[in-house]
Amino acid sequence: MARTLINVPPKAKKGEVIAIKTLISHEMETGYRHDNVGKAIPRDIISLFVCTYNGLEVFRAELFPAIAANPFISFYTVATASGTFEFKWTGDNGFSATESVNITVE
């Protein structure tokens, strides 16, 4: 599975706005390039990223060929309750990666 790096504060106060940062290793091959003998290199990108917080979707992003390799996605949400963030990246050629991180809300 692709290597990921996720940064969620381990603890937060209820109602606090928290920053979440995610990084995933992926080539993000655009589909517009050709190899050294002129053959088209097929597209291979992550096309969707979804983050759920205790089962509720809090962030979603569609990705396109213009997004650079190893996409870094950062966003904010409100800490409502202790629980789990789940992250899911899906893309071409059946690509799928999931991660989850726990948070304690006081």
């Binding site: 790096l5 996720i6 940064n7 990084l23 290793s25 650079a68 190893n70 870094f72």
Partner: protein, 263 residues
């Protein structure tokens, strides 16, 4: 030859002499206290990306490297960690290229990793510039982050340092360029809108946004060399290792930033 022709020749020779004197005068080393890492030429966004481990894509290679470090490979069925436990590589990357007695010349960190692989682990060497080797050297390099660059210059390494220095100051290729003309004399200027910089190899292997990948110092050197339209040296060539040694000596005492991010 008519007197007029003789006069033109003399003027030409004089102009050439003046021009070469000026060039010699210009090609001066950067004083130690005026040296700047490539980091200082970057914009705030790229600096922030390097400084935050969770935003620095080089971290992905560091973690891959850590996994490779612990994996048993080769007929010896040994992992790197079986010999080098914990964070025992602290400071090592800051000392490379280092002299290898068996080879009678300096080797860079990637070459040393492959020497360990073939001789101690009895495994096949990893391809230069391949993902696994870059991951391993990122992991090793990360342990020296913040430490001063300190290659050893003694009677064994000095000839190679001088060979590297000669390459740096030698005009070569179709454009008749020397590295020093940009990186010693014109580092305050821009080339095609981008800062030229002083060419201190402070953060290798590093994540270059242009590459969308981690690359070694040799990859970067080959970039510049092909830009100079010089018949390029292959990856792992002794000429490139000598140049690496000279550049690391030129950046002596500057802190290592591995894995750095550069535009």
């Amino acid at each position: 030859m008519t007197p007029a022709e003789r006069c033109i020749l003399a003027i030409g020779a004089l102009a050439w002499a003046i021009a070469s004197t000026l060039l010699v005068a210009l090609a001066a080393e950067i004083p130690l206290n005026e040296r700047k890492s490539g980091y200082e030429f970057m914009g705030p966004e790229t600096r922030a990306m390097q400084d935050d481990d969770s935003a620095n894509p080089g971290s992905l290679w560091v973690f891959d490297g850590e996994a490779s470090w612990k994996r048993k490979v080769g007929t010896a069925n040994k992992s790197c960690a079986d010999c080098h436990a914990g964070e025992s590589m602290k400071g090592v990357a800051a000392r490379y290229p280092a002299f290898n007695a068996a080879r009678g010349r300096p080797v860079n960190l990637d070459q040393q990793i492959n020497i360990c692989r073939t001789e101690r682990q009895q495994a096949t060497p990893l391809p230069l510039e391949g993902k696994e080797l870059l991951a391993l050297s990122s992991y090793v390099g990360r342990q020296s982050r913040g430490m001063p660059i300190a290659v050893t210059i003694d009677e064994r390494t000095r000839p190679f340092l001088e060979a590297g220095r000669a390459t740096f100051y030698r005009r070569q290729g179709q454009l008749n360029f020397a590295c020093a003309q940009c990186h010693d004399d014109n580092w305050k200027e821009k080339l095609a809108g981008a800062p030229i910089t002083q060419a201190h190899p402070t953060g290798y292997p590093l994540y270059r946004l242009e590459w969308q990948n981690v690359g070694s110092l040799q990859r970067r050197l080959r970039n510049c060399i092909s830009g100079m339209r010089v018949d390029n040296y292959p990856l792992g060539a002794p000429e490139l290792v000598d140049l690496e040694l000279f550049l690391m000596w030129r950046a002596r005492s500057m802190p290592l930033e591995t894995p750095a991010v550069r535009p």
